[in-house]
């Protein structure tokens, strides 16, 4: 989307919401919020409001979809009709289908699937209010929900996006930066022993030089370690009541 004349996304080193380029939006994470689900998480990142639930491992029907050696993972990203400015018709659109696919792929290699052959682990994530960066917020919530469900994983998955606004790389883009910016690059990482072990989600659309893409990765990595602390705290709080 071309910027309206005269709109500056960065003024005096500050973004439209007052953040510096390397600052995250406020984050709130709560684990185990739903009764019926095996694991759940409510998460707010900026004005994004996300609810994630995990059911599983559970029986998978029809039988022919089962994998004899490991669990099937299913991930459904869905936006509530009231979550966006213009009401969104209920049901999956092409964008949701793509997001569901890459999000599932971000979590699949981290879940120790061989422990649950012939079953399915279903991850449902609802965007209740959208404010740029929904897919990364959803993956963060899903990761906490999976841990809350007691599912075996190699580590946690933490996601964050890097954008480019007025030529500057910006962490965790907000709505205007997402809309009028020059690039959007979501990442998700596997975190083991409080360190980044590898990349599980990697996408980009926009225009970046090779150096910018590499720098964006560095920015995302440090931010992910920050976000991971929040995810960890949320789980600890559920079981100990302490922060």
């Amino acid at each position: 989307m071309k910027k309206p004349e005269g709109l500056k996304l960065i003024v005096d080193g500050r973004r439209l919401d007052g953040r510096r380029p390397d600052e995250l939006r406020p984050l709130k994470v709560e684990a185990g919020v739903l009764k019926r689900a095996d694991g759940s998480c409510y998460l707010e990142m900026g004005n994004n409001k996300i609810m994630a639930a995990v059911y599983g491992p559970r029986e998978l029907h029809p039988r022919h979809l089962q994998d004899p050696n490991k669990a099937i993972i299913r991930y459904r990203y869905n936006m509530a009709p009231f979550s966006v400015e213009e009401r969104k018709r209920p049901g999956p659109d092409r964008r949701s289908v793509e997001i569901s696919k890459v999000s599932r792929e971000a979590l699949e290699p981290v879940i120790i699937r061989e422990l649950y052959p012939r079953s399915t682990i279903d991850i449902f994530v609802e965007v209740l209010q959208a404010d740029a960066g929904t897919r990364t917020a959803c993956i963060n919530a899903a990761s906490v929900a999976l841990v809350d469900a007691g599912i075996a994983m190699k580590g946690m998955v933490t996601a964050v996006a890097v954008g480019k606004a007025d030529g500057v790389l910006v962490l965790d883009p907000m709505k205007e930066e997402d809309f009028y910016g020059e690039a959007d690059m979501p990442f998700a990482f596997l975190i083991v022993n409080e360190k980044i072990k590898g990349i599980t989600l990697l996408q980009m659309d926009g225009k970046l030089t090779s150096e910018e893409a590499k720098k964006a990765l560095e920015m995302a990595k440090s931010a992910a370690l920050e976000i991971y602390k929040h995810q960890r705290k949320a789980i600890m709080k559920k079981y100990t009541g302490e922060d």
Binding site: I112, V147, D148, K154, M156, I191, T240, G241
Partner: protein, 233 residues
């Protein structure tokens, strides 16, 4: 409930040790290092590091005692729901003393609750049950309590200490299913206290001082019972 943990809480990916030989339940080894693979309580001894799960579905294991509900009656046995991602089957041949002229659904019908043992799990994760063990029976009295299967070890306690406490203090029959279902049988009111105690164990399994709190609860409730009885007399 929240409070001081009896042990350290760990998350998937937390580093536990450089010695793969110590890796026990709830952990995984990668490049010579041991990490937690689940959310749970760390249990570290000299010979073993394991993580005790706080949650998770019941995954059947051969020899487990499980309590289930008959879902379907087939021509040669019963399909039993054992509260697991894996359905279980009790073949007619594994039912002791089948009277020749009895129809299958006259022996056990949909909705019956049974105590069984896991005989075998085949590579396709099909679970076969048996009732040829003295602990097994169809439940016709008492109450069945369902809790988070991950808390069952705490209900049993170290070397059976918790379950012994409940049985002796309440003088009731208790059979614990590994799949999270527990059968209590005996005097109605004492069974009720047992139920309450088990839910409390489920809720507070990871908090320090549980055994004391359970002992206290039982004493209190038994005291209330006696007061009722003396007043009633």
């Amino acid at each position: 409930m929240t409070g001081i943990l009896s042990r350290k809480l760990v998350l998937p990916g937390d580093f536990l040790s450089n010695n793969p030989k110590l890796a026990g339940q709830g952990t995984y080894v990668e490049q010579g290092k041991v990490y937690s693979k689940i959310l749970g309580l760390l249990d570290r001894t000299e010979s073993c590091i394991r993580v005790i799960p706080l949650k998770g579905k019941y995954l059947p294991s051969q020899g487990d005692t499980v309590i289930g509900i008959v879902k379907e009656v087939t021509s040669n046995g019963w399909l039993i729901d054992i509260n697991s991602p894996y359905p279980a089957f009790l073949p007619l041949t594994e039912y002791p003393d089948v009277k020749p002229n009895k129809k299958i659904n006259e022996i056990m019908d949909i909705g019956d609750i049974v105590i069984t043992k896991v005989l075998n799990i085949d590579p396709k994760m099909r679970v076969t049950l048996t009732m040829k063990d003295k602990i097994c029976r169809i439940i016709r009295s008492g109450r069945v309590v369902a809790i988070n299967p991950a808390r069952i070890p705490r209900v049993i306690g170290k070397k059976g200490s918790m379950i012994k406490l409940l049985k002796s203090e309440l003088d009731i029959q208790i059979i614990v299913g590994q799949n999270g279902l527990i059968w209590l049988n005996g005097d109605r009111r004492r069974v009720s206290i047992g139920e309450e105690a088990i839910y409390k164990i489920e809720d507070e399994a990871h908090i320090e001082g549980l055994t004391d709190r359970i002992t206290e609860l039982i004493k209190k409730r038994k005291g209330e019972l006696m007061n009722e009885e003396t007043r009633g007399a």
